[in-house]
Symmetry: D2
Subunit: 303 residues, 4 copies
Amino acid sequence: MTVVAFIGLGVMGAPMAHNLVKAGFDVIGYNRSPARADALVARGGRRADSVAEAVRDADVIVTMLPDSPDVEAVVLGEGGVLEAARHDALLIDASTVHPETGRAVAAAAQARGIRALDAPVSGGEAGAVEGALSIMVGGDEKVYESALPVLRAMGSTIVHVGPAGAGQTVKAANQLIVAGTIELVSEALVFLDARGVDLGAAVRVLAGGLAGNAVLQRKAPAMLARDFAPGFRVDLHHKDLGIVLAAAREAGVSLPLGTHVAGLIASLRAQGGGSLDHSALLLQVESLSGRRNELNALGAPPA
Amino acid sequence: MTVVAFIGLGVMGAPMAHNLVKAGFDVIGYNRSPARADALVARGGRRADSVAEAVRDADVIVTMLPDSPDVEAVVLGEGGVLEAARHDALLIDASTVHPETGRAVAAAAQARGIRALDAPVSGGEAGAVEGALSIMVGGDEKVYESALPVLRAMGSTIVHVGPAGAGQTVKAANQLIVAGTIELVSEALVFLDARGVDLGAAVRVLAGGLAGNAVLQRKAPAMLARDFAPGFRVDLHHKDLGIVLAAAREAGVSLPLGTHVAGLIASLRAQGGGSLDHSALLLQVESLSGRRNELNALGAPPA
Amino acid sequence: MTVVAFIGLGVMGAPMAHNLVKAGFDVIGYNRSPARADALVARGGRRADSVAEAVRDADVIVTMLPDSPDVEAVVLGEGGVLEAARHDALLIDASTVHPETGRAVAAAAQARGIRALDAPVSGGEAGAVEGALSIMVGGDEKVYESALPVLRAMGSTIVHVGPAGAGQTVKAANQLIVAGTIELVSEALVFLDARGVDLGAAVRVLAGGLAGNAVLQRKAPAMLARDFAPGFRVDLHHKDLGIVLAAAREAGVSLPLGTHVAGLIASLRAQGGGSLDHSALLLQVESLSGRRNELNALGAPPA
Amino acid sequence: MTVVAFIGLGVMGAPMAHNLVKAGFDVIGYNRSPARADALVARGGRRADSVAEAVRDADVIVTMLPDSPDVEAVVLGEGGVLEAARHDALLIDASTVHPETGRAVAAAAQARGIRALDAPVSGGEAGAVEGALSIMVGGDEKVYESALPVLRAMGSTIVHVGPAGAGQTVKAANQLIVAGTIELVSEALVFLDARGVDLGAAVRVLAGGLAGNAVLQRKAPAMLARDFAPGFRVDLHHKDLGIVLAAAREAGVSLPLGTHVAGLIASLRAQGGGSLDHSALLLQVESLSGRRNELNALGAPPA
């Protein structure tokens, strides 16, 4: 029976680990705040008290952590994954981090003989719970193939997109398009509303043509209902767009709209919207257009 | 048998008129360059030698013209539709024009007792040929209902979105989202290419998540194949974005990304790209990023 | 004694007319609301009760009107300047209008044998009072030379910049640079304030180098004192940037920053800031940065 | 006689050190490529073979280095300034670096009892040669006063702007305004040229009003003469704007135009313009407007 160590049992990690249990893997989980491991144990998994304990006997190690420094500490740091793992283990980092972190992890793993993939996911908490995540995988093709049984327990669209770091690059592109699309839909809605159009009808007809997109389908109804509970928080999208901008700058790539929407997300956050769903970009377009000012009621901006 | 006058037998108008013939209407067509009416006659329609002759006995009049000045001349001008039409006729303007032109036409029609709708379409030549257009309709709801038999012969998604001009407003929003989405996809592709990612695989996985959109599905394959034959020309999208900017400015609505992408389309056109498909925004991102410079080979910009 | 008709005795026009009286011209003034002519009479000018009466015997006609439609009505309209003026008169339009309006006026004047110049001014009410305006003049060089005695009574920097319309084009460029510079200074001030810098000291050192500009010298002190009384109103700058955007679009010229700042001015206006001085762009940067929200206290935006 | 160690004898550092010699200081210089110290010796200075040797007996240490990593290595690193300097020495870092580097240096110096200032300069090579630099100084006020004799030998406008790091923050704001102003002037010039205006005359009248700025005065003549030899290289401005964007992002400050112009500079560099003067932003506006394409002749972009 394949042993899978799962590091990081947060909003996304926990349901991903549960799906691995359900698929028949022997899952041993570790989380910094240990209470989060209880749910895993209740579903038939095991609990470890340290990263080293979790990975020591694992065939496969999945990490699902908030940001690059966490990955660097947990994977590359003292007592971390690479130090403690078996030399024939397979490391799958599902965190969203800078592509260079993805490459650095792969290189450090290879130096110890450990196979590694970067495999960030898209699809949100719902996708994690339903095992329906999109997973964009970077790394060696053979390693990718050997990881498929584990990846298939967590996602439904699994694509190998290139060498180490490529998964992170595609995730960055994903976050760029998502942010831009939410902003475009927000601008369209404020424009339509200002000109007296029936918004529900407009969304219906827009969704059917070349303007159609997943934001109109999945997010617009909540936006029209003025429900901005996350979902995916502005704070996290802000972090992800920081990765996009840095990676594009390094590559000399011009992102006119991407840079602009990153500024709008940063502004929304500075105005106190960090813990709202990213669809709250709508509130900012309303404010800029002098139509509503709900941002102002959000209270003090972050320090 | 309902008589339908069809004014404007261009790339879009001709197949729309043919579908009306096929649906059993008695279609009498007029086009400024009369040769374009031959195809209509060949399919069982009739030909008129003037706007006035075309509309004189028509129950329904459909106009499909390039721009606001054409609509103003053909509909409101001397010897035009409103002057010549029966007082119980129904006018459907399918042209893409400024919402205020839509309202002005409706008001002028009403002053003569003629019912009118603005009903711009989305879906391109393919949608027109297949009778699968999306049609966004502004005007009185009862008039809308009376127009449905004619509209259904031309489109598959037909939505009443509000009062006179609202159809044009939704079309403007449609063009805003489409331009922005093509640009976002272009930026993502150049970014991914610069970082060595397999573009086909990336498009596949991006299309499946919250970044998914109709541009990734319908346009990205041709973009990757570097086929920029129109389709929908940059020149026309530039015209449409002029409508969007003007209408938003009048309404005091802020369109940060919309304004930006309108500038990028205008620049692409100034660099000689006017007759390419709008997906040629990709060429501009490549040029701005110093990766390829195919724009430069386009030759002299327009005067 | 040269007779000068002066049409439009507003905030700018009145002091300009007074300076013409002071310079020894026989000035006959007309204003739509006739009370504004009293001050001119008190200083030794004369009053006319219609445009026609004012211009009938004038050697030189100066018009100083709010916008293109006013110029079209007063100059080109029935009973207007061109209809009533002598055929050897000289028309100087000091209004800020679209360059094409400047050209149209010049062409219409020429058709009647009347010499015409477009001569918009910069320098504000203070410059008008002190006769220290900058005047950018478009039209025939000989006509320009014949107009110098009149122009020198109103301004201190007087430059012939090209053919008919060129004065308006330079004024448009002036307004583009001014708006952009106020925004850049605002962004710098908010950035410096957020990072704990002494703003007065910073303005001093910035003004001395390559970052130095007239906004830092003349406007920054009031901005730091949070005094946003006009001066030059946001509403007017919004109108002027509309001219810039339209003229650039027609010429196929790309104005990345110009377009962006026009959107910011439009947004400031939509949020209720139309009657503040244009330096109130500072308030918007503060709001976008979550530092202060004084815009919100401005009350309802314009309809 | 006050001993001044000068580390970094580049384009800026060499003339600054020469001016210190001229002002009567005992200057001992160090440069990584030692040949650059010859000129200093020829003018009466001394040469050191290592940082440690240069600073060992110095009363004042001036560092003038390219970027943050250089400052970190030379000042904070092994065998560096802080390790080798006397405990009563005064460190003046004139490099342009991130404000946080400025603070980190000050904190590390204080921990060793060494007084430190961040004192970046503006004014270019000409300003350095003539001792006419603007110097923006962050740090303790008393330390600032004790440094004035040395600073006055190098600059003519010397302003204390706040605590440690504040000098760097003001320099960042300076670079933001300079880049934005060059871009605004470029947009205005292309707009004016496209509409047939006499550019020399236009620059004259623009420079006299509220649009006036140092770029119009000092840079526009070379731009009109199409001379883009540096001066200040695009590569360096790109580096500096990276500091601006990072510092603004950390502070939550929104820089709409600043972000936009940073993207335009990055694009100019990606298109091969990195070693041109920053006024080459003009070439990019011309290219975007389809008027000239000299960027394309620049050859391959940087890797």
